[in-house]
């Protein structure tokens, strides 16, 4: 029934208006956004319909434009295509447990990785403060001498600190 309604709706929109009103910028943005998330159904590659030149992709884009003009939301238009093609036509992850997992795992990886990094950087340092500025290590220096710009800045900061410290 919804299929029938949508078909009649789009058919009537196109049949009634010979020269449809141009889309507003917001609507154009919606069309691009949706178009970039719908997969070209006949291409072997994973391409959005905005980037494949075949007729059916064009027609799908035209359909999206018509529905946007009619005021459909993103989700309604996604549902329209999902009813006909299934989940595989959407380039966005499915809205189910698997899709949620997919979005969550990178964020989890980011947090866990960041945590592990911080833990490593905070770990086992000798209590006595080692004056470990690069200039102290001669072997290090020969292969990779300290950059003159950074050395200059370091010297400036040092003198400023001594002046403040009132030595």
């Amino acid at each position: 029934m919804p299929v029938l309604l949508a078909v009649l709706l789009s058919a009537s929109v196109l049949a009634a208006s010979p020269a449809p009103a141009p889309l507003t910028p917001l609507q154009q943005a919606q069309v691009s956004r949706i178009g970039e998330s719908i997969r070209c159904p006949i291409c072997r590659d994973v391409l959005p319909i905005t980037e494949s030149g075949n007729d059916i992709s064009h027609q799908m884009l035209a359909e999206i434009r018509a529905q946007t003009r009619a005021g459909q939301t993103d989700n309604q238009i996604y549902a329209y295509f999902r009813e006909r093609y299934g989940q595989r036509v959407l380039l966005r992850p499915p809205v189910d447990w698997a899709g949620t997992l997919l979005w969550a795992l990178p964020v989890l990886a980011l947090l866990l990785g960041g945590g592990a990094l911080l833990r490593y950087l905070a770990g086992q340092r000798r209590a006595a403060g080692v004056d470990s500025l690069a200039a102290a290590d001669p072997a290090l220096n020969a292969e990779d001498p300290e950059d003159p710009y950074l050395a200059e800045i370091r010297a400036q900061v040092q003198t400023a600190r001594e002046r403040r410290g009132g030595t």
Partner: protein
């Protein structure tokens, strides 16, 4: 502080290979699973009401889904440039001749085919006597979720899609599909 032998906790030693094993097993499952392109058990259109259409035939008339109601229907999407369609065509001709009298409608729909001359030649070559419709604006193709040609829909007399073939018909697949709409072949 130096310890000669450092053994990390057991979980640290076994977790990485275990994860690797899970990944490989998942890939193996994906590889060894039989490719299921034709029966389309997960097809979104199965069991749904067949989307309606009203399209022009090659001879200039119009044919709509409503006119075909009441009898089982084979709806076959094809194109004259499509090579596997040539393998299907004799089977479709056979079934349409066998059953065309009373019990079954066979209708073809042309998908993304600009060349009418080549279409007519194809039809003449294979002796296809059933109506062939032009889906010029591709709306019907979108409604039927066409991802390529050939694709065939077996629609029951009640108007519901009973089975879908998206891989190209063979005699077995055609028989199986016909069985779902109550026709023996």
């Amino acid at each position: 502080m130096t310890r000669l032998h450092f053994t990390p906790p057991t979980w640290r030693r076994f977790a990485p290979p275990a994860l690797a094993f899970v990944l490989v097993a998942a890939l193996g499952a994906a590889l060894l699973r039989p490719k299921d392109t034709s029966s389309g058990t997960g097809d979104p259109l199965l069991g749904q009401t067949a989307p309606t259409f009203a399209l022009r035939t090659l001879d200039g008339g119009t044919l709509s889904l409503a006119q075909l109601r009441g009898k089982p229907l084979i709806l076959n999407f094809w194109a004259s440039w499509c090579v596997p369609c040539r393998d299907e065509a004799p089977l479709l001709r056979e079934v349409s001749e066998q059953q065309g009298g009373g019990g079954l409608n066979v209708v073809g729909v042309l998908f993304q085919d600009p060349d009418q001359g080549r279409m007519r030649k194809f039809i003449a070559d294979y002796g296809l006597a059933y109506p062939n419709l032009l889906d010029s604006d591709l709306k019907t193709s979108i409604n039927y979720g066409i991802t390529g040609v050939p694709e065939t829909f077996f629609i029951g007399a009640d108007g519901l899609i009973k089975s879908v073939d998206r891989g190209g018909l063979t005699r077995e697949r055609l028989s199986a599909g016909l069985k779902t709409i109550g026709v023996t072949f």
